[in-house]
């Protein structure tokens, strides 16, 4: 699977993401600076975690208006797959590629720890080769992960099986509505999630639980 990671000033999980993609796909990963206006050919485009533009204005707000974004929106419209993790999820909501918003954690604290995630939907390429209902460990590290959407949007997300991951076992670290940790777009080709699966892909990191998501999207796109 060909993939590309988009880089912003203040991104800091970009190398983790590139390493995870390279290790699991066995292919080199393209990188794209945010001032570009065209994307390289790829099946998966990734917005990595970090603190683009120092989280000024709102997390992800300024990155979501950068020069590369129209190309990313066009790619998503054409059905290309887009993954946003943490700050990337914040960018996807700010750019209107996913509904809702990510607000300050209810505790007001930055949280950096492991949570338990339940794979609640296997409707999209990202999760179709994962086990529905399985609860797995995953790290989080964020200050603004408190997912909010109005009641109608929430009903739509739930009704259409677009909540891909939910915090499980009482480990919701941020107060997100319905324990939402990750959602997909209506067509299923865009996934945004707060937790960092790219940080649990080799033994040195303490586990391999994050690999399933990357393997799933690779299997789906290869099929």
């Amino acid at each position: 699977m060909k993939s590309a990671v988009i880089l912003f000033p203040g991104s800091n999980r970009d190398r983790d993401m590139i390493k995870a993609l390279e290790q699991i796909s066995g292919q080199s990963v393209a990188t794209v600076w945010h001032t570009e206006t065209e994307l390289p050919e790829a099946e998966l485009y990734v917005l990595p975690g970090g603190f683009s533009y120092g989280d000024y204005l709102r997390s992800g707000a300024i990155a979501a208006r950068s020069h590369i974004m129209p190309a990313l929106k066009a790619a998503a419209d054409q059905g290309r797959h887009v993954l946003g993790v943490c700050n990337g999820f914040q960018m996807l909501t700010e750019a209107g590629l996913l509904p809702g918003a990510l607000m300050r954690n209810a505790s007001l604290h930055f949280v950096c720890k492991e949570v338990m995630l339940e794979t609640t939907s296997t409707n999209s390429a990202f999760t179709s080769h994962m086990e529905k209902g399985k609860v797995w460990r995953c790290p989080v590290a964020h200050h603004d992960g408190n997912y909010f959407a109005d009641a109608e949007t929430l009903k739509e997300l739930e009704g259409e099986g677009r909540v891909a991951f939910r915090y499980a076992d009482g480990t919701n670290p941020n107060g997100s509505l319905n324990d939402i940790a990750g959602i997909t777009s209506a067509k299923g080709n865009v996934l945004g999630m707060m937790p960092h699966p790219e940080n649990l892909i080799e033994d040195l990191q303490g586990g391999l639980e994050g690999r399933a998501l990357f393997e799933s999207v690779m299997q789906s796109l290869a099929a």
Binding site: A61, R65, P99, F148
Partner: protein, 79 residues
Amino acid sequence: MKARVTVTLKNGVLDPQGKAIEGSLGSLGFEGVEGIRQGKVFDLELADRTDAQAKADIEAMCEQLLANTVIENYSIELL
């Protein structure tokens, strides 16, 4: 010309920061504070244009960047 944009959270959107500030005021001994919502203020300096044009321009700025209309309302004041 100068203008001020005030961005506030919509009703029904939880504001944990406002709650924390409310609690802190209570602990300082201020009584009867029944609610606080935290917002943002932007002071703009614009090259001269008509008031109507300024309002239209700033409204576009709010819709596209200054406010996230999923969770926030905005108001515009020409000063």
